[in-house]
């Protein structure tokens, strides 16, 4: 039966098994699921950033042909607020909390005040999408327009509009973390650099917009929700336990093929709840598919920090102390994991890859009349890396020290097992100098500096930027995150079902929305069971099939989800040994699993193939006494620590003096993500991540009009995503430092590029302008005008 797998698949760039279905347009996305009798929902949204609802008149909309129902918040009696799953309250003994999180309500349809443009106030449900869309325009809302506040650094200013009565100064929480004698460090510093560093707001822009389809089956009392989710069990739990109060076992959440998430599909959203509630009222399926315009207004945004950072340095470049004060814009409501992002996913990364004498980080989360902000690829870690990598380079410039040299001087030396940072977390393994060394082997740094000097003499502005980053992924040890305020555990499940014929179905609690689980996990399973990959199927995204799982984000699928699968495979092998021992009349202790067969140690012809054992498990005629039939195992893996990938990136740019345009000439990346299952897939994630990081540095940014609070960048012709022709060919490399945290030695690779690339590009542009006396640019993206104005200001000064 099972042919022998001669080579290990682990480490091989095999082609993605899911791609034929995607590239031929035969995937099944939520919008492809068709059900008879479906109705279509269209949401009536606030056109104002902040406005009180005096009345809502739905009469004309209800009369529109094809309309089945119109609901407002007042109709949704018994429905609760969307929950925030991360609770920062002092009484819970959560470290660092200085002021309690204001748990403000977030109703699926707001009925008192709309707090951002796009806030839904009513839903029209009709027989067709067109009828629903047309009728939604006929819902008349009498608005009392209120003053609004959208800017992060204006949220707590005296007289700023108040977003929630429960948060008087628009302060959502205050939080602090650190260690060491910070004041002492600054006192003894030879040089202190202080910079304002703004990390602008981004829009996730997954290729597939959010969508849901909810069907209530009156006969069985079951509700099925197809939804664009990165974590279907989390969606189900939050919706059942907190919002709708319906029994969890009567709800099935299916996230079929999902076209990208970048974090934005982790969260429970208004529309999914409204459709799930409405199908129970109407006894007909209810569908909603976001338009791109709605996506810009309602998908959780990312980043949006304003930070004042100070670095204390000794003359020789030693980093003595770091002070960081950040205001984090949370938007109008608390999205599902919002408070975690600018705190435990941010402050804990401020030690970076450096030995720093003392660190203090203070964060104020604020409410504004903007779309809610939550995790976006990297989530908190890019913001931390950006602050650190910018302030370190500013420090080097102040000391007239080389930017690579200052890093080398302060790197944490190679270690394995643990490095305790000043900001709570303990690193797993690292060799930070090695990554930069490797990068500098790929690139002649000295020669570049000579070229740069020569170019400067001709008036050309060339620059190089570095970024030596760390990230925390493989999220996360449940006890640790619980102690930090998480409402959930962050283990993962993996179930392996061996069928009688030796075919294997694997059920993972993690979810692929682009990551390639169907390939990567199958490589792992085929390897471990030494069977052809064609015998392995990976199933995910359906609470009706998979054991309770936590989903995909925080670069956790391979490390946490993969380990859960490995644990189940090990159990399968153990059971298989007992069955084989019985068939071979040997002791289980004497059975080895070799080349897809259970064999008596050292006696290759006394062996039973995997398929014979699986058949015996289901036809247990000749079978060990006391052993259960069947061959199926489930495991839950809860990691003992985060994993900490790291690396070194560099990029070379040329700035056009006339226009301020930045041209990327080279981009080099060395990443250490631990062991790698499929290098091609990891490269793909690195490439995409770098593009996203470059996008933030140069082009992307959500801009709100100060007066009206309108989102000015609400379409793809206003919000500039990275385009392939603007990116150079990436030059990538890897070092491999396996993590001791999990048996696979995998750290995680989903976010590294996004984290490293942004400061790398900004550092390069600043370097290009350094000859003019520039040592900092406060805000991103580095639009052509921003760069041009920087050049004007610098040349005017000289």
């Amino acid at each position: 039966m099972a042919t022998v797998q001669s080579d290990r698949l682990f480490g091989k760039s095999i082609k993605r098994r899911e791609d034929p279905r995607f590239v031929t347009g035969r995937g099944t996305y939520v919008d492809d699921v068709k059900l008879p009798g479906t109705t279509y929902a269209a949401f009536v949204r606030s056109p104002h950033a902040h406005a009180r609802i005096r009345t809502i008149d739905t009469a004309e909309a209800k009369r529109h042909p094809g309309v089945v129902a119109v609901f407002t918040g007042a109709d949704m009696t018994g429905v609760n607020s969307l929950p925030c799953g991360w609770d920062l309250r002092q009484s819970k003994n959560i470290p660092g909390v200085v002021q309690d999180l204001a748990m403000v309500p977030h109703m699926p349809l707001t009925s008192d005040v709309a707090r951002h443009v796009g806030d839904p106030v009513a839903v029209v449900i009709a027989d067709s999408r067109d009828a629903a869309t047309d009728a939604a325009e006929k819902v008349k809302v009498d608005w009392e327009v209120l003053p609004s506040v959208t800017a992060t650094d204006k949220a707590t200013a005296p007289g700023a509009a108040r977003v929630h009565d429960a948060a008087p100064d628009n302060i959502a929480f205050k939080w602090e973390l650190g260690g060491g004698d910070v004041d002492g460090a600054f006192k003894k510093a030879d040089v202190v650099v202080k910079k304002r560093i703004v990390n602008q707001r981004l829009v996730a822009n997954a290729m597939e917009p959010r969508a849901c389809l909810a069907r209530f089956d009156e006969a069985t009392g079951e509700l099925t929700l197809w939804v664009t989710s990165q974590n279907p069990h989390v969606h189900r739990l939050l919706m059942c336990a907190f919002v709708l109060g319906i029994p969890e076992h009567k709800v099935r959440v299916i996230a079929p093929d999902v076209g990208g998430g970048f974090g934005s599909k982790i969260f429970l959203y208004n529309e999914e709840v409204v459709c799930s509630w409405a199908t129970r009222q109407l006894k007909r399926p209810v569908r909603w598919t976001s338009t791109r315009r709605e996506a810009y207004l309602t998908d959780a945004h990312g980043r949006d920090h304003v930070t004042d950072a100070e670095l204390a340095l000794a003359k020789d470049g030693t980093m003595l102390g770091l002070r960081v004060k950040t205001t984090a814009n949370l938007g109008a409501y608390l999205s599902t994991f919002a408070p975690a992002v600018p705190t435990f996913l941010y402050g804990t990364l401020l030690n970076g890859v450096y030995q720093i004498g003392a660190i203090n980080c203070q964060v104020t989360g604020v409410f504004t009349n903007t779309t809610a902000v939550d995790a976006y690829r990297g989530a908190g870690r890019p913001e931390a890396c950006y602050v650190l990598e910018r302030i370190v380079e500013a420090g080097a410039r102040a000391l007239k020290m080389d930017v690579a040299e200052i890093r080398k001087k302060n790197f944490i030396p190679k270690f394995s097992g643990a490095f305790q940072t000043l900001v709570a977390v303990s690193y797993d393994s690292g060799d930070y100098g090695a990554a930069l060394d490797k990068l500098l082997q790929m690139f002649d740094y000295k020669k570049f500096r000579a070229e740069q000097e020569a170019a400067r003499k001709q008036g050309r502005l060339l620059g190089i930027g570095f970024s030596t980053y760390i990230e925390a992924c493989s999220i996360a040890p449940s006890k640790v995150v619980g102690a930090l305020g998480a409402g959930a555990g962050l283990y993962e499940s993996g179930k392996v079902r061996v069928h009688p014929t030796g075919m294997v179905s694997v059920y993972t609690g993690s979810h692929s929305h682009g990551q390639g689980h169907e390939t990567t996990f199958a490589q792992l399973v085929a390897d471990e069971l030494q069977i052809p990959i064609e015998q392995v199927e990976i199933i995910h995204g359906d609470t009706g099939q998979i054991p309770f799982g936590m989903g995909t984000y925080g670069s956790r699928s391979a490390s946490v989800g993969g380990t859960a699968i490995l644990m189940s495979i090990n159990k399968i092998k153990e059971k298989g040994k007992r069955i084989a021992a019985h068939l071979l009349e040997a002791s289980p202790k004497d059975i080895d699993y070799v080349n897809g067969s259970f064999q008596v140690k050292g006696v290759p012809d006394k062996a039973v193939p995997f398929g014979a054992v699986s058949l015996t498990a289901y036809v247990p005629h000749n079978y060990p006494d006391g052993l259960e039939p069947g061959l199926e195992e489930t495991s839950f893996y809860d990691p003992s620590n985060f994993c900490f990938p790291f690396g070194a990136h560099a990029c070379v740019v040329e700035v056009e003096r006339d226009t301020g345009a930045v041209k990327l000439l080279r981009y080099l990346a060395v990443d250490d993500v631990g062991n790698v299952i499929n290098p091609m897939i990891v490269d793909g994630m690195v490439h995409g991540g770098i593009a996203q990081g470059i996008g933030q540095a140069l082009w992307e940014g959500a801009v709100y009009d100060v007066q009206s609070g309108q989102l000015m960048t609400g379409t793809m012709s206003d919000y500039a995503l990275p385009k392939a022709d603007l990116l150079p060919m990436y030059e990538t490399g890897r070092t491999v430092t396996p993590t001791p945290v999990n048996p696979l030695g995998i750290k995680g690779a989903g976010e590294t590029g996004t984290i490293a690339a942004t400061p790398c590009v900004v550092n390069a542009v600043v370097d290009a302008l350094a000859g003019l006396g520039v040592d900092h640019i406060e805000a991103m993206p580095l639009t052509t005008e921003r760069v041009w104005q920087t050049i004007q200001a610098a040349t005017a000064k000289r």
């Binding site: 047309d134 793809m716 500039a720």
Partner: protein, 289 residues
């Protein structure tokens, strides 16, 4: 988004289209390539009750040489303009300009007539229409009339074409000997429309003196305009770098520069000067062959 409901008409002649237009008045919109109109309808910024599709009207597309004047049908696609051997030979700046509009998908469907009738302030062709001296032939119930480029662009998305008229063709004079032209733009990082675009045409005599200069600026203001100050600074001069530099300083004069997310008035005015200079330099290079 999805457009509001509308009636769809497919006239088979200009006359039929005109009679529909006369009958339906303000409730109707002409449809050419749809690459400006349909996005606006999807956002419901435009909600015409009737759409009159010109794509079935014979004779509105095509490029021909009419005794030294190149005649481009209004329904000619950007790609046809870009790849036309006649235009490439007789007035290549028009093909060059068409070639930087959007991407191939846009150029295969969008039309020159649609672009010039729509008059998006950031569209590319309007700058070249001014520089190359296009003439616009409009047809109405009472017959045809011709409008000069300088009289065509009236304001933000507004042109000289009447509500009851159809732009049927564009007439482009062939280049005089010793001419060269170039259109250069600073693309919007998201849409790639022109944040600023400059089209320049120069004619040099045997001694290298500029006998005629024509410069159009798009993107920066509410409509494309002729940069008269620049033209005056070039005409009668030998076009060395310093002369061009000085002349280009006037590029933003007469442009009602609008500040937006892409730039302040100061920056966009500066870009007008930079792109005027670059376009003139390129034009001179080509004029010299």
């Amino acid at each position: 988004m999805y457009p509001a409901a509308f009636e769809y008409h497919t006239p088979g002649s200009v006359r039929e289209a005109l009679s529909l237009l006369g009958k339906l008045g303000d409730d109707a919109k002409l449809l050419a390539g749809g690459h400006s109109l349909i996005p606006m309808m999807k956002l419901r910024l435009a909600q015409p009750k009737h759409v009159i599709d010109l794509r079935r009207v014979p004779g509105l597309a095509g490029i021909k040489d009419d005794k030294g004047t190149i005649v481009i049908g209004a329904m000619t696609t950007h790609w046809q303009v870009e790849s036309s051997p006649v235009l490439r030979e007789k007035c290549p700046i028009v093909s060059d300009t068409a070639g930087v509009i959007g991407d191939p998908a846009v150029r295969n469907v969008g039309t020159i007539g649609g672009s010039l009738a729509h008059a998006d302030p950031a569209a590319d062709m309007p700058a070249t229409a001014i520089a190359a001296g296009f003439e616009f032939v409009c047809e109405g119930a009472k017959g045809r009339r011709t409008v000069k480029a300088d009289d065509w662009f009236k304001g933000l998305m507004s042109t000289a074409v009447g509500d009851d008229e159809i732009l049927v063709e564009i007439r482009v004079p062939a280049w005089a000997a010793g001419s060269g032209g170039a259109y250069l733009k600073f693309p919007h990082p998201a849409s790639r429309f022109a944040v600023v675009g400059a089209a320049a045409m120069v004619t040099l005599d045997g001694t290298g003196v500029c006998t005629k200069a024509s410069v159009g600026i798009t993107g920066a203001g509410t409509k494309a305009v002729r940069a008269k100050g620049v033209e005056a600074g070039l005409t009668g001069q030998t076009l060395d770098q310093a002369t061009i530099e000085v002349a280009a300083q006037k590029a933003a004069e007469g442009v009602d520069v609008q500040a937006d997310l892409q730039g302040s008035v100061e920056y966009k005015s500066h870009l007008c000067r930079v792109f005027a200079r670059r376009a003139i330099e390129a034009a001179v290079k080509r004029a010299k062959g």
